[in-house]
Amino acid sequence: MKLKQLEGLLGELQQFSAPKVELEQYPTGPHIASRLIHTAENTFGDITGKIVADFGCGCGTLGIASALLDAEHVVGVDVDPGSLEIASENAEQLEVSIDLVWCDIRNLSWKGKCIDTVVMNPPFGTRRKGVDMEFLSMALQVASGAVYSLHKTSTREHVKKAALQSFNAATAEVLCELRFDVPQMYKFHKKKEVDVAVDLWRFLPQSVSRAC
């Protein structure tokens, strides 16, 4: 599937109807989401025919994009049941099949490295400090292939250090820097849209470098 076509389809998805501030619920827009998944597949071959998990899947954008690029099996996880219902409707709308699990990422208990690729746009940790690193830590525990994630550019050094030293990643690489418009959905945002510089990361878990 062409990038433009993927972006177009993602633009049709329904997004959070009543976003919860404390969970940092804002969607990954179709522009960024399509590029993230398209890059993961076209540059690295990490989506098609793979088992993909979408952590903090919200309304399912990244997981559904993976399914559209022929991931064999997709599992979306979110702590908010309302978003999962929207994700389920979105998948049906685009005629793809994804599994959904209602769970807090911190309490996931999955068997070994059962996932090939984790894709995620975790909360940045502006509401509850450290939640972004909890997502990354868990992603590197379940992924045998690669982890794609978005983090604020201002935290680049911290992310790199945590991934390599604390979470035992083999590599941590910034693929590109993006502008992320966080729409004014929360009262504490004074401006209409807040433009945040965000890095698209690719992490490899340790076992990969040993196996190859």
Binding site: E72, H73, D99, C103, N107, W110
Partner: protein, 126 residues
């Protein structure tokens, strides 16, 4: 929820040691065709806990229960298209829409509703 997802999940309550596999109590199952991909099945085989998988497949309500998968499987079976087709069907085409997952150690139940297992924990379980 497909059986592939079931194969990955363990009981996540704090302190539980033998929380795998979760016993599947399926009430409603839907069948939805998925593209057959032999390479994927060969790729995933080593990662599947076969005992848990067959146990879940056999436990499904009568009209969906899978009886034609062997108790034990070995890599040599992956050469058989017939075996791969059955493996594919049970792993990827059966969706548990309603039911529960039950922890083998504590009996803790995780409800499955609209295909979504609820693995959210209570405060005293984390």
């Amino acid at each position: 929820m497909r059986l592939l997802t079931h194969n990955m999940l363990a009981c996540n309550v704090k302190g539980v040691v033998n929380g795998y596999p979760l016993r599947l109590e399926a009430e409603v199952v839907a069948e939805r065709p998925a593209d057959f991909n032999a390479d994927f099945l060969r790729h995933i085989f080593a990662r599947i806990d076969w005992k848990a998988f067959v146990g879940a497949a056999r436990s499904l309500p009568e009209e969906h229960a899978v009886a034609d998968l062997p108790e034990d499987a070995e890599p040599s079976m992956l050469a058989s298209e017939d075996f791969l087709r059955r493996f594919h069907h049970a792993l990827l085409e059966l969706h548990v829409e309603k039911g529960a997952l039950v922890c083998p150690e504590t009996g803790r139940r995780f409800a499955i509703d609209k295909g979504i297992p609820n693995m959210l924990l209570n405060e005293d379980e984390v």
